[in-house]
Amino acid sequence: MIDAASWLCLGLGGLACVIGALGLLRMPDLFTRMHAASLIDTVGAGFVLLGLALQAGPTLVSVKLAIIWLLIFFTSPTATHALARAALYRGVKPLLAEEGAPSKR
Protein backbone atom coordinates (compact mmCIF):
# COMPACT_ATOMS: atom_id res chain seq x y z
CA MET A 1 0.00 0.00 0.00
CA ILE A 2 2.73 2.43 1.00
CA ASP A 3 4.81 1.15 -1.91
CA ALA A 4 1.97 1.92 -4.33
CA ALA A 5 1.50 5.42 -2.89
CA SER A 6 5.24 6.05 -3.14
CA TRP A 7 5.37 4.90 -6.76
CA LEU A 8 2.36 7.06 -7.60
CA CYS A 9 4.11 10.08 -6.04
CA LEU A 10 7.36 9.39 -7.90
CA GLY A 11 5.49 9.00 -11.18
CA LEU A 12 3.49 12.19 -10.69
CA GLY A 13 6.64 14.08 -9.72
CA GLY A 14 8.54 12.88 -12.78
CA LEU A 15 5.58 13.74 -15.01
CA ALA A 16 5.34 17.25 -13.52
CA CYS A 17 9.07 17.75 -14.04
CA VAL A 18 8.87 16.75 -17.72
CA ILE A 19 5.79 18.96 -18.29
CA GLY A 20 7.52 21.90 -16.61
CA ALA A 21 10.61 21.43 -18.77
CA LEU A 22 8.43 21.28 -21.91
CA GLY A 23 6.87 24.56 -20.81
CA LEU A 24 10.32 26.00 -20.18
CA LEU A 25 11.25 25.10 -23.73
CA ARG A 26 8.02 26.12 -25.51
CA MET A 27 6.72 29.22 -23.69
CA PRO A 28 7.02 32.49 -25.62
CA ASP A 29 8.74 34.90 -23.21
CA LEU A 30 10.79 35.05 -20.02
CA PHE A 31 7.98 35.53 -17.51
CA THR A 32 5.87 32.64 -18.81
CA ARG A 33 9.01 30.50 -18.77
CA MET A 34 9.51 31.42 -15.12
CA HIS A 35 5.93 30.28 -14.50
CA ALA A 36 6.66 26.91 -16.15
CA ALA A 37 9.91 26.51 -14.19
CA SER A 38 8.06 27.08 -10.92
CA LEU A 39 6.03 23.91 -11.69
CA ILE A 40 9.26 21.91 -11.44
CA ASP A 41 10.23 23.59 -8.17
CA THR A 42 6.87 23.06 -6.45
CA VAL A 43 4.90 20.08 -7.77
CA GLY A 44 7.80 18.11 -9.24
CA ALA A 45 10.17 18.45 -6.31
CA GLY A 46 7.39 18.04 -3.76
CA PHE A 47 6.03 14.78 -5.21
CA VAL A 48 9.46 13.24 -5.87
CA LEU A 49 10.66 13.99 -2.33
CA LEU A 50 7.34 12.77 -0.87
CA GLY A 51 7.69 9.51 -2.79
CA LEU A 52 11.23 9.02 -1.53
CA ALA A 53 10.18 9.82 2.05
CA LEU A 54 7.38 7.21 1.82
CA GLN A 55 9.98 4.65 0.77
CA ALA A 56 12.34 5.60 3.59
CA GLY A 57 9.77 5.52 6.39
CA PRO A 58 10.17 7.51 9.63
CA THR A 59 13.98 7.60 9.75
CA LEU A 60 16.78 10.16 9.58
CA VAL A 61 16.61 9.89 5.80
CA SER A 62 13.09 11.31 5.84
CA VAL A 63 14.30 14.21 7.99
CA LYS A 64 17.00 14.96 5.41
CA LEU A 65 14.40 14.81 2.63
CA ALA A 66 12.24 17.26 4.60
CA ILE A 67 15.26 19.56 4.97
CA ILE A 68 15.81 19.44 1.18
CA TRP A 69 12.12 20.20 0.62
CA LEU A 70 12.25 23.19 2.99
CA LEU A 71 15.39 24.41 1.22
CA ILE A 72 13.63 24.33 -2.17
CA PHE A 73 10.45 25.77 -0.62
CA PHE A 74 12.23 28.89 0.64
CA THR A 75 15.00 29.45 -1.93
CA SER A 76 13.15 28.84 -5.19
CA PRO A 77 10.64 31.71 -4.81
CA THR A 78 13.47 33.97 -3.62
CA ALA A 79 15.59 33.23 -6.69
CA THR A 80 12.58 33.61 -9.00
CA HIS A 81 11.64 36.94 -7.39
CA ALA A 82 15.20 38.24 -7.75
CA LEU A 83 15.23 37.09 -11.37
CA ALA A 84 11.96 38.90 -12.12
CA ARG A 85 13.26 42.08 -10.46
CA ALA A 86 16.50 41.92 -12.42
CA ALA A 87 14.52 41.39 -15.64
CA LEU A 88 12.20 44.36 -14.98
CA TYR A 89 15.18 46.51 -13.98
CA ARG A 90 16.87 45.67 -17.27
CA GLY A 91 13.74 46.72 -19.16
CA VAL A 92 12.32 43.33 -20.20
CA LYS A 93 8.62 43.82 -20.90
CA PRO A 94 6.09 41.02 -20.33
CA LEU A 95 4.44 39.78 -23.52
CA LEU A 96 0.83 40.98 -23.29
CA ALA A 97 -2.16 40.42 -25.57
CA GLU A 98 -3.48 43.32 -27.61
CA GLU A 99 -6.51 45.07 -26.15
CA GLY A 100 -9.61 43.25 -27.45
CA ALA A 101 -7.65 41.09 -29.87
CA PRO A 102 -7.79 37.31 -29.45
CA SER A 103 -4.51 35.73 -28.43
CA LYS A 104 -2.48 34.22 -31.25
CA ARG A 105 -1.15 31.40 -29.05
Partner: protein
Protein backbone atom coordinates in the same frame (compact mmCIF):
# COMPACT_ATOMS: atom_id res chain seq x y z
CA UNK B 1 10.49 2.60 -10.14
CA UNK B 2 13.40 4.72 -8.96
CA UNK B 3 14.91 4.11 -12.40
CA UNK B 4 11.75 5.52 -14.06
CA UNK B 5 11.87 8.63 -11.87
CA UNK B 6 15.58 9.05 -12.61
CA UNK B 7 14.85 8.70 -16.35
CA UNK B 8 12.10 11.36 -16.15
CA UNK B 9 14.50 13.67 -14.33
CA UNK B 10 17.19 13.07 -16.97
CA UNK B 11 14.70 13.96 -19.74
CA UNK B 12 13.84 17.12 -17.79
CA UNK B 13 17.54 17.90 -17.49
CA UNK B 14 18.03 17.53 -21.26
CA UNK B 15 15.08 19.83 -22.08
CA UNK B 16 16.27 22.42 -19.57
CA UNK B 17 19.79 22.32 -20.98
CA UNK B 18 18.31 22.88 -24.44
CA UNK B 19 16.67 26.06 -23.12
CA UNK B 20 19.94 27.11 -21.47
CA UNK B 21 21.75 26.74 -24.79
CA UNK B 22 19.00 28.35 -26.88
CA UNK B 23 17.84 31.06 -24.45
CA UNK B 24 17.79 34.40 -26.29
CA UNK B 25 18.75 36.51 -23.26
CA UNK B 26 21.14 35.91 -20.41
CA UNK B 27 18.17 35.87 -18.02
CA UNK B 28 16.68 32.85 -19.80
CA UNK B 29 19.98 31.05 -19.40
CA UNK B 30 20.07 31.99 -15.73
CA UNK B 31 16.52 30.69 -15.19
CA UNK B 32 17.47 27.43 -16.91
CA UNK B 33 20.63 27.16 -14.79
CA UNK B 34 18.58 27.62 -11.63
CA UNK B 35 16.18 24.89 -12.77
CA UNK B 36 19.12 22.60 -13.60
CA UNK B 37 20.23 23.09 -10.00
CA UNK B 38 16.84 21.95 -8.67
CA UNK B 39 16.74 18.96 -11.03
CA UNK B 40 20.26 17.86 -10.10
CA UNK B 41 19.29 18.10 -6.44
CA UNK B 42 16.33 15.76 -7.02
CA UNK B 43 18.44 13.48 -9.22
CA UNK B 44 21.04 13.13 -6.46
CA UNK B 45 18.34 12.09 -4.00
CA UNK B 46 16.78 9.58 -6.44
CA UNK B 47 20.16 8.07 -7.40
CA UNK B 48 20.98 7.72 -3.72
CA UNK B 49 17.85 5.59 -3.29
CA UNK B 50 18.48 3.76 -6.58
CA UNK B 51 21.89 2.53 -5.44
CA UNK B 52 20.80 1.97 -1.84
CA UNK B 53 23.10 4.67 -0.45
CA UNK B 54 20.96 7.46 1.08
CA UNK B 55 24.18 9.27 2.10
CA UNK B 56 23.82 11.05 -1.23
CA UNK B 57 21.17 13.22 0.46
CA UNK B 58 23.92 15.17 2.26
CA UNK B 59 25.45 15.99 -1.13
CA UNK B 60 22.00 17.11 -2.31
CA UNK B 61 21.64 19.49 0.66
CA UNK B 62 25.07 21.05 0.03
CA UNK B 63 24.33 21.35 -3.68
CA UNK B 64 21.04 23.14 -2.97
CA UNK B 65 22.73 25.66 -0.69
CA UNK B 66 25.47 26.36 -3.27
CA UNK B 67 22.87 26.67 -6.03
CA UNK B 68 20.85 29.45 -4.39
CA UNK B 69 23.98 31.39 -3.37
CA UNK B 70 25.28 31.22 -6.94
CA UNK B 71 22.00 32.38 -8.48
CA UNK B 72 21.58 35.31 -6.08
CA UNK B 73 25.21 36.34 -6.60
CA UNK B 74 24.87 36.40 -10.39
CA UNK B 75 21.56 38.30 -10.17
CA UNK B 76 23.05 40.88 -7.81
CA UNK B 77 25.93 41.33 -10.22
CA UNK B 78 23.45 42.00 -13.02
CA UNK B 79 21.40 44.38 -10.91
CA UNK B 80 24.23 46.54 -9.59
CA UNK B 81 27.26 45.65 -11.71
CA UNK B 82 29.09 44.93 -8.44
CA UNK B 83 28.94 42.16 -5.89
CA UNK B 84 29.76 44.52 -3.01
CA UNK B 85 27.00 47.07 -3.64
CA UNK B 86 25.21 48.02 -0.40
CA UNK B 87 21.57 47.92 -1.56
CA UNK B 88 19.03 49.94 -3.47
CA UNK B 89 18.92 53.41 -2.00
CA UNK B 90 18.83 55.11 -5.42
CA UNK B 91 15.35 54.05 -6.55
CA UNK B 92 13.67 52.40 -3.59
Amino acid sequence: MFAAAALALLVTLALTLARALAGPTILDRLLAANTVGTIVLLLLAVIGFLTGRPDFLDLAIVYGLLNVVGTIAVLKFFRYGDLGAPGEEEDA
